[in-house]
Amino acid sequence: MNDNAAKKPFSIQKTVLRILLYFVVIDVCIITLYPYFAMFCTALKSRAEIFSPHGTILPVTALWSNFIDIWSRAPMANYLLNSILIAGGSTIIAMLCGIPAAYALARMRFKGQTAFLGFVIVSQMFAPVVLLIGIYQVMLRLGLTDSLLGLIFINAAFNQAFTIWLLRGTFMGISAEMEQAATIDGCNRLQSMTRVLLPVAAPGIVTTLIFIFINAWNEYTVALCLISTDTNKPLTVGINIFNGYNMIEWQYLFAASIFAIIPVVILFMCIEKNLVSGLASGGVKG
């Protein structure tokens, strides 16, 4: 009896806190998801319904045909393919350049190491948008304006900092002993890296490459500036064809947006946990 009396107020307070916790969490989730909900509902409405003075929340009749119409009203297939090529290409180049650099920073000592790492960090301070004028000049000289290849190089370059940062942290967290043993067994550096280190570092590498892929997929500013031919545009820029000055086709804009969002959200949910710990541990003392 005594025991119960002592426990009761404690548990009431706990229940109230629990309810409050769920209340806040559910609210946060609703607010976060609301834009996506509005986007999805609007993508299923007719133009008349969207602009009607008697607004609706859910579509009166779901027009799934909007999701099909966008493919004929705009070169959506091109946009989608371009986004895949840009994101994929950027990821490959960023990794091919970033893995050896991160390896050298984690496993070797050389003159200029600090300077190199310093530049990597400082490069973070220049967003592509601030350098657009300079980037445009370089692209003109290389003949890469209005080309996917140009965008691939830019995305790869501006993601180097993250790549090196994340991978260096991953590599430094792995003991070098195994590689040393492999070296004694007659492997050279390249072999000891590809056969011993990289398989162990695989989770970190996958996280890094998905992160670069997402960044390049979501990139907007440089593509907006460099690409002028419609069929060369990635999704982020291309879908604005439905967002004209005079007439906004919201239903098509959002239907197309959903195609641009879904792959990324899925990928992001896969790496979310690793990414944050990677960001944190890679950032240790430059």
Binding site: M108, A127, G134, A157, I261, A280, G283
Partner: protein
Amino acid sequence: MSKVAQKKPVPAKMTPPRSGNSPAKRALRRIEPYIWIAPSVILMAVFILIPILSVFQMSLSDVSKAGKIKGFNGLGNFIKVVKGSAFGLVLQNTLVWTIAVVVLSTVLGFVLALILNNKFRGRKVARAIVVFPWATTLVIQASVWNFIINTDYGTLNTLLMKLGIIKQAVNWTPTPEAYFAWEIACGIFVTIPFVTFCVLSGLQSIDTTYYEAATVDGANYWQKLFKITLPLVKSSLTVSTVLNIIYVFNSFPIIWTMTKGDPANHTDTLVTYLYKLAFYNGRQGEAAAVSVIGFLILLVCASVYMIYTLRKGDDN
């Protein structure tokens, strides 16, 4: 992040292989690291360093509309920019935008992380949902917000009317300032997840025995929050804040999608202003000057941060 605080074992550096002590091989070994970093260096040199140098050069030059450098112009571009009628407003907007978004998203993101760090049913789902805005490209996020707050057909009005909270459609954007406030809200919305996840990673590495000991000593929730939690996630918060200052300061898509900086520069920040100068008005020299000014502002912030953290390092 407090993994950082614990001293990590320093990974043993690879010892050079014993065989091959001929001068040629030794020379090769000395240049080996440079071969490893070469691809990365070349990539960044061509696509980041050269544009940086090019922007600095253009900011000091007389530049034609086509982007051809016609000659040295000293600080002419900077003087023109600073004397421009819109510059004061743009600079003010940039500061308001950066400070409001970074401060509010850091506070809200931190609180959200504390909430999500509790154990409750559906925590995994909640965390997956919270990450959504981080993963979505900013253009799309901004388009949806633009749609939601529209006076004539926006879903916010529809929703509030259906719920009976308002009777008539409200004009959510009566003034440019109001529009700018919505842009800031959108900026906060998309920035919160990054802060939350940085803080969460810090929170999860805190040893629970600290809290148990504090509870035994009779500490209340707030004491534990300010004496244990906050100091231990401080490094995570610093990382996320510094990165956010840089990203938010340079953020272009939200403002570009929602207002393009209009009307009359009232919602312009430095990056949208320089984009218009360079690609709409053909005033590339001045645009380059704006870039350099923006960079200098960020550099000052970064130096203050570096000095601050270095001093903190000395204390330890």
